[in-house]
């Protein structure tokens, strides 16, 4: 759209106008002024101050947009870069961890009361000399099981005097764990096959590096067994139970049919139990092997703690990494972010299920919205007789594009989930009631709701392109003896394709970014299983799902450890914006490409 607006304008602009192009939208004016030696136009007539106010408004818009995007990109890109672990010797102890941000604040008097008696006066003076303001840093101190906190503020005046009060100990490891957040400490020993080997940090780190991958491999294997094989058994057991319940509801308990079904149910149960025990033994064996591998870490204040290697996702000596090594950590974090499940109440790990949910939902939505949108547009433009009614319908459809998305969410919940879904449950899934199958929010209903929400977008876009197909082409086609449908199929639709594609992609972009209705019809903070998996029937449209947009809301507002979740919000936001930007750019690109392809065949 924009590229075409530029073209005619640019063509209009006299290339000889040169540097004056900025003012010279009206070519006659400057030449008129230039031809006179004295300017007779009053200065006030130029309205320079008002022009500056209008231009200023535009500048503000632009700068705010740039600032916003820059903020998200900067924060999102920088999040995973490993920072140094700094050790602060404070007046009342030792703090070590990664510094997350700096700020200035005016401490109240009660802050000083908490300091040791001897150093209060000095701290007060230091702050007073600085105008009552002091700097402080938020340090991610981790070691939650020891400190009881994930983060701590360290103010300037709290840092003990002396040159070595702030240091970066070379062997401080950053340990990312499955639970309890990060751990910071120096390795002072490892446990290999149950035997404790006390050793120097370098040696311990080397041993850790040798054994950790194997331990993680076993852990992965265990997880596969748990989610895969046991999941299948559980699913089978549930199916058998439901089948039994269905028979019971149909024929009554203790009826002959029920007895037969019950017999087979018991058989399945027995067989499954044997298999379950086998897998449980396998898991137990893996766990036992893994339990023999541990690492002993000494924290900054000297406490020693033993961590199981299986629980460690990633560990690195932050203060002696080269740029290349840092890049490896950085990329491996991005990889984890994009491909792994979330952990720690979504504040660590990845967002793979959310990406998956967003993409699948958007795809189903577009599969639904495009055919119906095009049908409606074809009807309105090609088949419907014009008249007040049709133009009223058109205005109404236009307006629906402006109806708040939450209203569609309310409709989706009430109509799709409760009425249609409830009806489906009554008919086909009555064995499972009262726990709903389709009668609650889920992937399918979310897609339906968003399809309805984006329907006006597609209808309006398609109608516009249909209107843009020249009537002469239709008439030409009819003159050649083509029927109406042949004309539409062979002439109108191909020509309208770019517009339809654009409408679809714009609808996808809108759908992918919409959150409010999803909160009502099925987006959840943590979905136990993906809507597509290896268990028959492979695609489960009734399941609730995770969504990037909802993930942002959940991380930012419902996370128990809000400070730790903050970096993740920015990366998730960056990801979502990238997806939407790519969709939008794709719309522009496809439109331009198709337009070029069809413009050559125009007559």
């Amino acid at each position: 759209m924009t590229s075409t607006q530029t073209k005619p304008g640019a063509a209009h602009n006299d290339p000889t106008a040169g540097p004056r192009a900025g003012v010279a939208i009206k070519p006659p004016a400057p030449s008129y002024n230039r031809s006179r030696s004295r300017n007779k136009t009053s200065l006030y007539a130029h309205g320079e101050p008002m022009v500056w106010l209008t231009g200023g408004a535009l500048a503000m818009c632009l700068l705010m947009i740039i600032g916003l995007v820059a903020l998200i990109v900067a924060q999102g890109v920088a999040t995973f870069w490993p920072g140094p672990v700094v050790r602060y010797q404070t007046l009342d102890g030792v703090r070590a961890g990664e510094t997350t941000r700096l700020e200035n604040y005016s401490p109240e008097d009660s802050v000083f009361e908490r300091l040791p008696e001897s150093s209060r006066a000095a701290a007060r003076k230091m702050v007073a000399d600085n105008g009552g303001v002091t700097g402080r840093r938020l340090v991610r101190i981790g070691n939650y099981e020891i400190t009881g906190e994930h983060f701590a503020w360290v103010s300037d005046f709290e840092i003990a005097p002396g040159a070595d009060a702030v240091s970066t100990p070379p062997w401080m490891l950053v340990v990312e764990r499955l639970a309890w957040g990060r751990f910071y400490g120096e390795p002072v020993g490892v446990v290999i096959e149950g035997k404790l080997i006390p050793c120097e940090p370098a040696e311990a780190w080397k041993l850790f590096g040798e054994h950790h991958p194997a331990v993680r491999e076993r852990w992965e294997q265990r997880r596969r067994l748990e989610t895969g094989d046991i999941g299948v058994i559980n699913h089978r057991a549930e199916q058998a139970r439901l089948a039994l319940r269905a028979v019971e509801m149909k024929y009554g308990k203790e009826s002959p049919q029920w007895r037969a079904e019950h017999e087979s149910f018991l058989k399945t149960e027995e067989r499954d139990k044997a298999e379950f025990d086998r897998i449980a033994r396998e898991i137990e064996a893996l766990n036992n092997t893994n339990n023999g591998y541990k690492i002993v870490l000494r924290t900054a204040d000297g406490t020693e703690s033993t961590l199981g290697m299986a629980d460690i996702v990633r560990a690195y000596p932050a203060n002696q990494l080269s740029f290349a090594q840092k890049s490896v950590v950085y990329l491996s974090r991005w990889w984890e972010f994009l491909t792994d499940d979330p952990r720690e109440a979504n504040s660590e790990g990845g967002v793979y299920p959310a990406i998956f949910g967003t993409v699948v939902m958007t795809l189903i939505m577009s599969l639904l919205v495009v055919p119906f949108g095009v049908l409606a547009a074809l009807y309105l433009r090609e088949y419907a007789k014009g008249g007040i009614l049709i133009s009223a319908v058109r205005i109404a459809i236009n307006n629906l594009a402006g109806v708040p998305s939450i209203v569609f969410g309310v409709f989706g919940l009430g109509f799709f989930c409760y009425i249609i879904g409830g009806g489906i449950d009554q008919l086909f899934f009555s064995a499972k009631l009262p726990s709903p199958t389709f009668g609650t929010g889920g992937l399918m209903w979310a897609s339906f709701t968003l399809a309805l929400l984006t329907l006006p977008v597609v209808i309006v876009a398609t109608e516009e392109t249909l209107a843009a197909v020249p009537g002469s082409m239709r008439e030409g086609s009819y003159a050649c003896g083509a029927s109406k449908w042949q004309t539409i199929k062979r002439i109108v639709l191909p020509r309208a394709m770019p517009g339809i594609m654009t409408g679809m992609i714009l609808a996808m972009a809108r759908g992918a970014g919409e959150v409010a209705p999803l909160m009502l019809v099925g987006a959840v903070k943590l979905a136990p299983e993906l809507p597509v998996n290896g268990v028959f029937p492979f695609f489960h449209p009734e399941r609730s799902f995770m969504h990037l947009g909802f993930h942002i809301y959940d991380l930012g507002f419902q996370s128990p450890n809000a400070e730790a979740a903050k970096p993740m919000v920015f990366t998730t936001t960056l990801l979502l914006i990238l997806i939407i930007a790519v969709l939008n750019l794709a719309a522009v690109f496809i439109r331009a490409r198709l337009r070029r392809r069809f413009s050559s065949s125009q007559f």
């Binding site: 759209m1 530029t6 640019a10 602009n13 540097p19 004056r20 900025g22 003012v23 939208i25 009206k26 400057p30 200065l43 006030y44 007539a45 309205g47 320079e48 022009v51 500056w52 209008t54 231009g55 200023g56 408004a57 535009l58 503000m60 818009c61 947009i65 916003l68 998200i72 055919p371 409606a376 547009a377 009807y379 090609e382 109404a396 307006n399 629906l400 402006g402 109806v403 708040p404 939450i406 209203v407 309310v410 409709f411 009430g414 329907l455 109406k484 042949q486 539409i488 714009l506 970014g513 959150v515 409010a516 947009g549 909802f550 942002i552 809301y553 930012g556 936001t573 979502l576 939407i580």
Partner: protein, 919 residues
């Protein structure tokens, strides 16, 4: 050719369209028509469905025809009646302690036994909410008990032989209860169970005349009135020894001041809540309220008349659920609901009584309040004595008749409250009975007896789905569908007087902690929040978007326009959840520290642009013209400059106008003492400046345009450009100074008179507030308003522009006199669509507005919008409950608001387009 003619056989060649073509054409036509129509219909289903869900809220209740049954009743008036939750059985308790259980369908008595033989029962009370009963005896002892129906289900197979053969729906009597086969195939057994606890001695040597009881988690409270006039309240704490299994009672007793010589024995004794108040009422309507929160020193809190009508007498007195609202019925036919309110006391009199004064009470209440003589009042209240209504109270609270359910019928005979909601049934002397919701005062149903015999006792069934009543000879039962009694148009949109509130208010509070919590579903605070969000975001977004669109379309080079416009349009597709999270987690904390700077930015940023313009004017004409395209980069630079300037000025402004700390200044409230005047926070100048600087700027600007410019213009035409520009700078500086002085003058004047800006559009600061939302939501609506306005400006026919410029108008003159007026309707529709966006925006307000449903314009406080409220509450709302449907109503309101706005915009736009083509 020739050959062809010769071979002409006389037959025209028939080209037949293939059948398949016709077929596919038909198929396509049918599919597209049906599919298209279905799609269009589907879109409209949204609206229809919302209406369909909402409509039941406004439909009235319906009562079935009565199920009447002659019961062999004792003939006298029962103390209490009740029924089971399936409306199969009823029970009645008579003064001689006879308990009668009868079938509601045929009136057959199933059980008829006397609960107490000796000692004789002399008083009893029953509370429907917990099915609790308390009995008083002639020996002065009391017993707690529980009268309730027990339900048990038996599998058909396990039942006794006689019961197995029952058909579904068939009912038989069995073991003092009823057995019924339910559709699931099971047998349901219903039986009344009466559990009695041990007797506790309450008063010595006199029979219990009146009794009421309340049960706490590990204690029970009795209020007991003896025949001899002893009025005692007892708090009995039961402690069970786990080892021995023995229960020991510790008892705390208080004797309430009660003088029988002046009063006859009261008709009613009621114990509120967990025993914090005792009410004693006489037949003539006199009520004495005791405050018994402190059992060591109970006091008479107030004395009043429940029946103000002359000649009326009190006939019934019941509690509603929660035992805080007292409902009185009188012989005139009025039913009133009373509860305690606690207005701010204004003074304490010499005798220790607190004076409560209020103007907001309805006249009916105010007339009851006394005007203390001027001498007893403190000095500062004497002058206001005429406009205020006063009443003395010993505990600072007062009982007010919050709801009057006036029926104008015969006198009230009996009252009954619901066990789960605030429904109330009343029976009248003319043989009718009616069902009401007390808070909304909605009349739900009226039923009547066959022969105008009054119902001596009435009860609402446990599930609120029916009524049971008895006359002297028969028992009646009705199935009643109460619908949604809490909501009326008035309760959704008007002020409602909720229990415990000082006066009727607009409140949205849908969920509460306790079982007897009453949902408060007033939509007004939410609609207000939506308007507040819209207005503040429009104030920020619309001017910027419109000005930016004007510059883009009229002053920007086409090349730059081709790059900038898509960039801003791209913003429209930025998910609002992203903006919301930025607003709440980045902007809100950042803004909190620089509020004065931000306020200054409202002035500084435009100021910097204006300064830029005046400096630019000073440049030689050739340079100004030649480098005209360089203005925009300069403007881009000016914005950060303006921000930096306000960051520098901010602390100074805070120091001068806001006593050094704007948050403390905003929070400060006068204490009413002379020390207020000396407080640094007393001056309201800073607050008013926020309002008056923009107003004065507009005023000064207007004055310059109207008066100064016409005077200068003839002179200016003789000046050369440089001189004119210099004069312009002088004029600008003078105008700026005049603005400041004018604003200061107005602010100081208002502040001196005693008007404080605090409490109106500025007040206490909260982190997530309307200012932050205004900024970000303004930012969110900029792209759409900008795009539509720019399109409107651009579609002004090119020849109009050329004609104007050709006639010698400058570009600015053309813009402001030709383009903008022509495109005005397009700009208007852009703003309307922007409003539509702001009204429905959900995620930004959900995340950044704090979601407190308050009714204040304060820009520094949060709010709750319709949309955010739906997003928060709908996932938890019980399907098809009043709350659920009210949230659907909220969605419908949103739908209607945006639909109307968009339709207006669309119609104006179409008109504009037509006009633009005509030009």
């Amino acid at each position: 050719m020739n050959k062809d003619q010769t071979s002409f056989t006389g037959r025209t060649r028939e080209r037949k369209t293939k059948r398949s073509v016709h077929f596919f054409d038909l198929v396509a036509r049918t599919t597209i028509t049906i599919g298209g129509l279905m799609t269009v219909v589907a879109v409209f289903t949204v609206c229809i469905f919302l209406v369909w869900v909402v409509l039941p809220l406004f439909t009235s209740a319906s009562a079935s025809a009565p199920q009447r049954s002659a019961v062999a009743l004792a003939g006298e008036r029962p103390l209490f009646i009740g029924s089971d939750e399936y409306r199969r059985l009823g029970w009645a308790l008579y003064p001689d302690s006879t308990l009668n259980v009868f079938r509601l369908d045929n009136g057959k008595t199933i059980v008829n036994r006397k609960l107490f033989e000796s000692p004789k029962m002399t008083a009893a009370v029953y509370s429907t909410q917990f099915a609790d009963a308390a009995f008083g005896f002639e020996d002065g002892s009391v017993r707690l008990g529980r009268i309730s129906f027990g339900t048990s289900f038996i599998e058909s197979a396990d039942a006794e032989p006689g019961l197995r053969e029952l058909k579904t729906g068939e009912v038989v009597e069995h073991n003092g209860g009823l057995v019924e086969k339910v559709p699931s195939g099971q047998l349901r057994e219903l039986a009344l169970s009466v559990k009695l606890e041990e007797a506790v001695p309450a008063i010595e040597g006199t029979p219990v005349a009146r009794i009421d009881a309340a049960r706490g988690s590990n204690n029970m409270v009795f209020a007991v009135l003896g025949q001899d006039g002893q009025l005692v309240i007892e708090n009995v704490r039961a402690r069970r020894n786990i080892m021995t299994g023995k229960t020991t009672f510790t008892k705390q007793t208080a004797r309430l001041p009660f003088d029988k010589s002046t009063h006859r024995l009261p008709m009613f004794l009621r114990l509120a809540g967990l025993g914090d108040n005792v009410f004693v009422a006489w037949e003539d309507g006199t009520l004495v309220r005791y405050d018994t929160r402190n059992l060591a020193a109970p006091v008479v809190a107030e004395e009043m008349d429940l029946v103000p009508e002359p000649g009326g007498s009190l006939t019934a007195l019941e509690f509603l659920i929660g035992k805080a609202t007292l409902v009185s019925g009188d012989s005139v036919g009025n039913v009133r609901a009373w509860f305690r309110v606690k207005p701010e006391p204004v003074a304490t009199l010499d005798d220790g009584k607190q004076v409560i004064a209020t103007r907001d009470l309805p006249a009916s209440v105010a007339s009851r309040l006394v005007h203390p003589s001027a001498q007893t009042l403190p000095q500062h209240l004497r002058d206001r004595a005429k406009e205020l209504a006063f009443m003395p109270s010993n505990d600072g609270s007062m009982l007010v008749p919050a709801h009057l359910i006036h029926t104008g019928k015969a006198g009230v005979v009996a009252l009954a409250s619901s066990a789960r909601t605030r429904l109330l049934a009343a029976s009248y002397a003319d043989g009718s009975a009616s069902l009401h919701q007390v808070t909304s005062e909605k009349h739900l149903a009226t039923v009547s007896s066959d022969n105008a015999a009054p119902f001596t006792s009435i009860a609402i069934t446990p599930k609120d789905d029916g009524l049971v009543a008895v006359t002297a000879a028969s028992a009646y039962s009705w199935a009643v569908d109460v619908g949604y009694p809490e909501t009326t148009t008035l309760s959704l949109l008007g002020k409602v007087w909720y229990e415990g509130y000082e006066k009727p208010e607009h409140i949205w509070q849908s969920v509460g902690g306790t079982d007897d919590f009453e949902p408060k579903l007033g939509l007004v605070p939410l609609i207000f929040g939506t308007l507040k969000a819209t207005i503040y975001s429009l104030m920020f977004g619309v001017p910027i978007a419109l000005l930016a669109a004007i510059y883009t379309s009229e002053f920007l080079s086409p090349r730059a326009r081709g790059q900038i416009k898509p960039a801003i349009e791209m913003m429209a597709s930025l998910p609002s959840v992203v903006l919301g999270f930025i607003a709440a987690l980045v902007i809100a904390p950042a803004v909190e520290g620089v509020v004065p700077a931000l306020l200054c930015a409202l002035i500084c940023v435009p100021l910097v642009f204006l300064i830029g313009a005046y400096v630019w004017q000073l440049l030689p004409y050739k340079i100004a013209l030649g480098y005209g395209h360089a203005r925009f980069p300069l403007m881009v630079l000016a914005f950060p400059l303006g921000l930096w300037l306000s960051y520098i000025v901010g602390p100074w402004v805070e120091h001068w106008f806001f006593a050094g700390n704007i948050k403390l200044w905003l929070n400060w409230a006068p204490s009413g003492t002379p020390a207020d005047l000396d407080s640094a926070y007393h001056s309201a100048v800073g607050g008013w400046m926020l309002l008056f600087v923009p107003l004065s700027a507009a005023l000064v600007g207007f004055a310059i345009m109207q008066f100064l410019n016409p005077m200068i213009r003839p002179l200016a035409s003789t000046w050369d450009r440089k001189r004119a520009a210099l004069m312009d700078v002088v004029k600008f500086l003078a105008a700026a100074a005049a603005t400041l002085v004018l604003a200061l003058f107005f602010s100081a004047a208002l502040s001196a008179i005693g008007f404080d800006a605090r409490g109106s559009f500025i007040d206490t600061y909260v982190q997530r507030n309307a200012m932050v939302v205004g900024l970000i939501m303004g930012f969110a609506i900029i792209p759409i308003v900008y795009t539509i306005s720019d399109d409107a400006l651009n579609s002004v026919p090119r020849h109009l522009r050329s004609a104007s410029l050709g006639a010698g108008a400058t570009q600015w003159q053309t813009t402001i006199r030709i383009i903008v007026p022509t495109a005005m309707s397009g700009l208007f529709s852009a703003v309307m669509i922007g409003i539509g966006r702001a009204v429905g925006e959900t995620m930004i307000v959900l995340m950044a507005a704090g979601n407190t449903a308050v009714l204040e314009w304060n820009i520094f406080s949060g709010f709750r919008t319709l949309s955010a409220n739906i997003a928060v509450e709908l996932p938890e709302a019980v399907k098809n409950s009043t709350h659920f449907r009210t949230l659907f109503l909220a969605a419908l309101v949103l739908f209607a608001m945006t639909f109307v706005l968009n339709t207006i915009a669309e119609m104006v736009r179409l008109r504009f387009r037509k006009r633009a083509f005509q030009l």
